[in-house]
Structure formats: structure tokens, C-alpha cells
Symmetry: C2
Subunit: 455 residues, 2 copies
């Protein structure tokens, strides 16, 4: 019996209309990256496991897809490890390579490997799929695209401003209203420092994040349970309840953090970034948000998160500044800042709000009906002219019944149908039917090119 | 000690300039596919091994990259198979998934899985990487892109004509002079038939292919060794030595093949395809070549191969008609015809002949020198205007020494450098330096947009 075909769970086929929409998103992002001076690179889907392992924590190691060695993959396998069921060791014996888990580690590896050929600061972008053996669920896939832009080798906060401007540019082009939320890791460290609770920075940040949902009392109880002192909790309260404009929040937190050098540095950085982006009059709302703690163990300065304002969905873009990207590959001291567009979530937003331009379509602009050999040959010649003029066109390949061909045109959503029958062949004309209005007109091939070429 | 980073053998990193060139090729092909009415799909990088295994022969099964199961991958492993070193069984126990080996099998799987949603004839294109555990060598990689266009569900030879027209269109756009070679599997079968040697079709085809290189006598000796009768060999001779125009070759072979119905059908098909493409006046040479035997075990009708005329390199595009694409997945009787552009070889041809348009560049059009905070802020505002006008621009992120910034501009090959110093800030002007001529001029920001926006 023939197999009933399926695809691995957590993976997807993309249909023509889905591809047209995804290309619109990727092309928009790619063009923006180029206009902003980011340069595209690509890295192999497979990296050596030695490059990937240990970079994403113990859990990440498990979520890497590993590739079985070619040839006699059993030859390095230690039978004692089979007996003991030592999976990590067996993995290393069976597999040398794994699939890319994100674009950051391959980028770091790329920078170190090609350092002699790169100008610093190096602005790179990369749009490629990544693979994670996560449990699949709604909106979470085992293969998905990341769209990353990073600049390494420059500490200037101009880079942050440029990335925020890039986010605004892309969202304006896509028609998505967004709020860009900004924080700085040094501010979070400063808060923990003035409370005398440097080791509680994660708990404090989580608490700040929850206050809208569970209220001040519950937050305070949680912090007490986590071991924060009553004194610290009472001094955190004015920070938890900060409101007002960006300037007001920065001013108030400034007076509370004055004892922390690191906190004040974070505030100064955040101020400069804010001033920079506001001077460019972005369409996006730009909001200071001290509860933003994205990638807390990774970012060392600016933290960025972007929310769509008109759809309930998680963050659609995020990023921040990090130190020492390449240290693990033997090139210490390289700082950088980057953002990552969440293509799948952006796709969901555009679908929900139906924000695609009308031109986005998987069908050709005009289908020529096939009435037989002589008519088809004439159609092919006109079609060649249309294509050279950038107008997508095709002939129905078989001289099937008119009804069948028109059904095909309808099902495909083709906007125009062109007819070259016996009469048209004699007159040297084409009958063009507008499929949405039903209007028909007789045109020369020059008139046809002109009409279909107009937007 | 830090690891010295590297990538798996047979894989590649692509630098910004390589990406710019590759994008030019892929964008050209993608646009052409769209203009010709082919619709893009994408399939997952991973397929179930049950989808892939047995589709590429025994050798192909070995060249598939298999993915180690997640979690306790040892739990289904049979210890007797370990003892016996039964690698095929162990592979199936350790791995459920493999990486895509080509785009044809996933396309067949896609068609069957989504048959209810597809209009026939279905014209699809697909541009994605594939993976093969081949021994890497010059020009052969373990990860490389395929660019396939196929139409299934139509037997019309119009599809062949359209695909030839598509090849011509792409090669004209890329500036590559090509010869398109055409044959038909039924002609090869017909030759074997009239010689009374149906089972020797492969040997006969190989012989025809070799005659230019090794001469008639050696070919005849080889055929004798392969078991072809002396009588058959003498009757093959006039076919081996066919010369002349396409029409002459077709006519002469026609009189030799008149006893074979299949052979005559192949000749009629080839004639119709030739007439169809010649009526469209292609720039490519289109040549009948009875020695063309590409994919002999796979193609059932038209066979297509494309050679670059100005570079010594193998075929840069190929394809043909096949029957029963989807039979193995339980959907018999679906015929199709398709072509595949060899992106890596096309890339090599463009590199060797230096055929890239001048605009292909990884750098921005203009770099703004950074003289400090006030000047940089003004620069950022002008840069935002340029980008909105579609002109790529960036500010050097740090207020570094002028020499360092100019060195960066030179190393990056930036065509223009813009300067906003104290004077320009006062006058509201920008000094623009053309990096190839050294010319400088003072411009308003409107003049700047106009000058840089011009092609």
C-alpha cells in the first residue's frame, strides 16, 4: 500500500498565497536592512556540535537537532555508554553536527572565523530558518525564520538609535502600529543595588512586571517569600508605582537611584537613546518601561521590546546590547547591539488585521484561454511581450473546454482573462475580460500591455 | 582554551558581497518564475524518513542526512542490531527524520497531501537548500540551493515550450549566452527498438554521447563488448553520424525510425516543441541533440539541458518530462514537466564572466562622517529622509578620527561620503564627496536626495 504522506510535527508547508505574504514581509525587512547599511550574510544550516553545545544552557543542548554521522556511525560508540544509557556521551559519539538553533551563535562564530576580512564596526543582517526540538504548540514551530540585525565593534549609542529607527521604518512600511518599550539592564542592576539586594535582581524585575496583573500587595508578598527584606520592599514601592511621561519616570527614578553609579549610568544611556530616537519623530510610541527584563542574563545595556498596539499578541520584535559576543570563540571584548524581527508573529499580525497590499497575490495578472494550436501560438507571442514588460501572464496549457478554463481562472483568482479566438486572430486583436467587473474590451497588443502595466 | 571555530566540511559561509550576488541571481529567477505563472511553495527542511527513503536508490539512501531522534533516542534500539552492526536497521531505530535531498520528492509529497486545495494544472516553483552527504569536492557541496519549476497535471507540449521560453528569459536577464539542447526519451527508446536492442538503450545512448571524444571505431568496439549485435551496430552508424540543422537531423532520423511507433511519437513531440520555441524567437541557440540522456531512468518525454557558451562548465540548467511523479505516494497517473536552475554553477559563470550589474554592491550609497553629537543628530535626520527615498545611507557610529572614518569608507567601497561639520551645520548644507572622482560639492538636503536618487 502506498504511504499516506505527512510532514514531521512542528513543521509547515507553505502554500503559494502564504509564500506571497511571507515574501512581502521578508522583502520589506530585507530592503530596510539594506537601506540602513546592514549587510547580509548566510551561514550553513549545520554547525559543528562543538560550536553549538553549551551555548544555550542545558535545556538548549537538549533542544538542538543533531545529525547522525554518515557512514559507520556506530564505530565510535562506546558499549559501556550504551549499557549505562549515557545519552549525552552517546550523542557526541553518534553525531558531530547539529542544526542552527539561532542566528546569534553562528554570527559570533562567523565574526571570529572571518575577522581578518571584516571592517569594524560590522553591521550584519541574516534571515534564515532555525530549528528547535521544542514541544510544538500553537504559534511555536520546530522550524521557523529569524531576521536579525546586529552591529558589533562599536559602543556608540547611535547604534541603538539607528536600530529603533529601523524598527519604526519597517513597522511603518508594514502598516503595523507599535509601541517600542525601552529599558536598560544597568537600571535594573541599580534598583537591586540601592535595595541592597543585588542577588534578587531577577525576582525584583519579575515583581515589577506583575504589578498590573496581581496588584501591589501580592507582589510584596511574593518578594517577601523570595527573601527580600521588609525594608527593601518598602523602598521598592515608589519604583513599582512610578507613572507619568518618559521624562517624569526618568526624573523620579533618577532621584531614587542616585546612590547607584551603575543605575545612574543606565539612566543616562536610556535618556540619550530616547532623545536620539525622539529627534527622528518616529511614528511608533516609544515608552520607558522599567519592568522590561527580556534576556536579562544576556543583555548588558539597552533592552528593546516591540508590541503591536492593535492585536493581542506577544512581542513582535526585540533586542538589546550585549558584551563579549565572541569571547567563547577566543575573541574577547567585542560588544554589540542587535534586534530580531519575529517573522511568524508579524505574519500573524498582518493576517489578523488584513494589512497586505492588494497586489499581494499568487496568481498571474492575465490568463490566456487556449483555443487550439494557431490561437495558442499567437497568445504565446503576446504573452512573451507582456512578460518582458514585467506583467505576469500565462496560457492555459490545454485546449480544454471554455468552461473548464474559466473555472480555473476563477479558482485561481486571476484578475484578467484574455481571449484570442478565430475572430481575434483575424483582426490581430485580443479580447480582455476584467474578472471582477465582467467588462470586456477589444485591444491591440500594445493597448493590452499599456492597460495591464498600469498599477 | 577557546575553541577555534570552523564549519562542517562541504558547507559554506556567504559574505556580504557573495550574498548580494546570490540574491541578484535568486531574485532574477524568482521574478521570472512569477512572470511565467509559477507559484512558489516551501516545504520543511526535514521530512519523515519514510517519505525520503527508497526514492533516490540505495546510494541516495546513504547520502541522506538523518536527524537523531529527540529525547531517549536509544529506547527503540535493538541490541541484536548493535551486535550485528546492522546500520540500516539502527538508522531507522535512531532516526525518524531526514533533511531534504532534492525538491522533487517533497513536491510530490506536497501535491498528494494538499491535492484537495490545488488547481490542476499546478505550476509550482521552489527555491530552497538541499543537503547531501556526498564527498565534498570542487563545486560540490553538502548544502546547496535548487531552483525548480514544474507543472503537473497537463500533458500539453505547450508546457515544454513555456519552460524553454522561461530558460531563455532568465539567461537573457542574466546576460549568459546559452545553447539549449533538446532530446526526447521516446526517440532513444525508438532507436533501441529499431536496432532490436530495447534492453541496450543506456549503452547505446552512452555510445552516442562519446562519439565526438573517442571516435566511431572505439564506440563500435564498446557496443560490441556490451553485447550489441554486429548487425545492430552497422545500422546504428548512420544515426551516430547524423549532422546538419535541427530540421535535417529530425528528417533523417525520421526515415531511420519509421518502424518504431514510439520513436516516431518522440520525433513528433520534439518537432512540435522546437516549432513552438522557435516561433518565440529565443536568443538562445536551440539544438536537437540525440545524445542527450540526462536522467534517462526518470524522464519519459522531452529532455532539456542548457550549456553556457562562453565558459567551460557542465550543464547550468536541465529538466524534462516525467510520468507518475506521485504514484509512490498513492496518487497515480500525474504527469509533469520541470526544470531546475543550477544556482551554484550560474554563480560560477557570472563570476568568471563578470556579468554582475554595477549596482550589485554590499555597501551603502553614502556614509555620513560623525563629528560629534550635534552634527550626528543633524546627519541622522537627513539619513532618515534618504532612506525613505530608497537611498541606502548610514552614519559612522562613533565620532572617531576623520582618517579612521575615511579608511572605513574606502575599505567598504562606499561611493559617496557626506560631511556635516560645524560650517555645514550653520549653513544647513551637506558636503558630498564622490569617492571615485574625489569631487566635492555643497548641497541642500533636497539636492542630496535628488543627486543620490538618480541612477
Amino acid at each position: 500500500m502506498a504511504q499516506k504522506p505527512s510532514i514531521p510535527k512542528g513543521t509547515r508547508d507553505f502554500s503559494p498565497i502564504e509564500m506571497a505574504r511571507r515574501n512581502y514581509i521578508f522583502d520589506t525587512i530585507r530592503e530596510a536592512f539594506g537601506l540602513f547599511g546592514y549587510k547580509q550574510i548566510e551561514t550553513p544550516s549545520m554547525e559543528n556540535l562543538s560550536t553549538l553545545m553549551g551555548k544555550y544552557g542545558e535545556e538548549g543542548d537538549k533542544l538542538l537537532f543533531k545529525i547522525l554521522n554518515s557512514g559507520d556511525f556506530m564505530k565510535s560508540v562506546n558499549h559501556a555508554d550504551i549499557e549505562n544509557g549515557n545519552l549525552p556521551k552517546l550523542t557526541n559519539q553518534l553525531c558531530e553536527k547539529g542544526l542552527r538553533y539561532d542566528l546569534t551563535v553562528p554570527f559570533a562564530r562567523f565574526v571570529v572565523q572571518h575577522r581578518a576580512d571584516l571592517q569594524m564596526p560590522f553591521k550584519r543582517f541574516q534571515i534564515q530558518p532555525v530549528w528547535r526540538a521544542d514541544r510544538p504548540q500553537k504559534g511555536r514551530y520546530r522550524e521557523f525564520y529569524q531576521c536579525d540585525a546586529d552591529v558589533v565593534g562599536s559602543d556608540s549609542l547611535h547604534n541603538e538609535v539607528e536600530l529603533l529607527s529601523l524598527i519604526d521604518f519597517v513597522m511603518v512600511r508594514l502598516g503595523i502600529n507599535v509601541a517600542i518599550k525601552l529599558n536598560n539592564r544597568k537600571i535594573l542592576a541599580g534598583i537591586a543595588e540601592v535595595l541592597g539586594a543585588e542577588d534578587k535582581i531577577v525576582d525584583i524585575t519579575v515583581a515589577i512586571d506583575k504589578i498590573d496583573k496581581i496588584g501591589l500587595e501580592n507582589v510584596n508578598r511574593e518578594l517577601l517569600e523570595k527573601g527580600l527584606s521588609e525594608d527593601a520592599i518598602s523602598r521598592l514601592e515608589p519604583i513599582l508605582t512610578l507613572t507619568g511621561s518618559n521624562a517624569e519616570k526618568l526624573d523620579r527614578l533618577g532621584s531614587l537611584l542616585s546612590a547607584s553609579e551603575e543605575g545612574m549610568k543606565g539612566l543616562a544611556e536610556l535618556r540619550e537613546v530616547l532623545e536620539g530616537i525622539e529627534a527622528l519623530e518616529p511614528k511608533a510610541d516609544v515608552e520607558v518601561d522599567f519592568s522590561l527584563a527580556r534576556g536579562l542574563n544576556y543583555y548588558t545595556g539597552t533592552i528593546i521590546e516591540v508590541k503591536a498596539k492593535d492585536v493581542e499578541i506577544g512581542s513582535i520584535t526585540g533586542g538589546g546590547r550585549y558584551d563579549n559576543l565572541t569571547g567563547v570563540f577566543g575573541m574577547p571584548g567585542l560588544s554589540g547591539v542587535g534586534i530580531s524581527f519575529g517573522a511568524d508573529r508579524i505574519y500573524d499580525v498582518l493576517n489578523q488585521l488584513n494589512l497586505y497590499p492588494d497586489e499581494i497575490s499568487a496568481s498571474v495578472k492575465v490568463l490566456f484561454i487556449n483555443f487550439g494550436k494557431a490561437e495558442a501560438r499567437r497568445a504565446e507571442q503576446i504573452i512573451a511581450v507582456l512578460r518582458r514588460a514585467g506583467i505576469s501572464a500565462q496560457l492555459y496549457p490545454d485546449a480544454a473546454k471554455m468552461k473548464k478554463q474559466m473555472n480555473y481562472a476563477n479558482a485561481e483568482g486571476v484578475p484578467y482573462v484574455a481571449i484570442i479566438g478565430e475572430d481575434e486572430l483575424k483582426d490581430g486583436k485580443v479580447t480582455l475580460k476584467n474578472m471582477s467587473t465582467g467588462d470586456q474590451q477589444q485591444l491591440t497588443s500594445e493597448e493590452l500591455v499599456e492597460l495591464l502595466g498600469a498599477k
